[in-house]
Symmetry: C2
Subunit: 86 residues, 2 copies
DNA sequence: AGTGTTTACGGCGACCGTAAATATG
DNA sequence: CATATTTACGGTCGCCGTAAACACT
């Protein structure tokens, strides 16, 4: 589980499309798709339901979302903690 | 900034030695040393004072520590959030 | 000399992007 | 056939570990 995977997960969940999420993260679809798959494999849970229109959060995905955002927010706070050196 | 770098950072801070931290994390010293350096470079702050006996947290490092632990704790909670599928 | 960190360097593995394949309406 | 995700695949970049170098007492 990497911070990048969590960023991708949140992007896909918010956009509902791998394609749009990929553009938003300045990456092409295949890496985005692979990272999501790798995250699901590692966690042993499918986070999305694949539907023809894109991807929709599964029940497990919805439960995971809040925790993923917490990690990313904590990481942002950590980075900013060192910017207070002015 | 990666989760692994934060784990290494906490390990070095707690052990006070790159060598001991490396053994604790089942890695050799050079990767440990490089990851710490890379983290410092990215954050633009030196997190440790290099002393002959090892490494000691700098003022910035002490300030960073709490935030680093928060990120790792949040990551653990995220992982466990999906284990409740029994 | 001995304890510690860091740099060189060869080799393996991860990851990206283009393009092709697969699936659904 | 249009839109979506996924797999193949070639190439690059990162990262590891051994060994050597460097710093301090």
């Amino acid at each position: 589980m990497s911070l990048r995977q969590l960023e991708y997960f949140v992007a896909v969940a918010e956009e509902g499309h791998v394609g749009r999420a990929a553009r938003r993260c300045y990456v092409s679809q295949p890496p985005m798709s692979r990272q999501i798959r790798a995250l699901e494999d590692e966690l042993g849970a499918s986070l999305f339901d694949r539907i023809p229109q894109g991807m929709k959060l599964s029940a497990a995905g919805q439960r995971f979302m809040g925790y993923a955002r917490d990690v990313l927010a904590a990481a942002d706070r950590a980075r900013e903690a060192l910017r207070e050196d002015d």
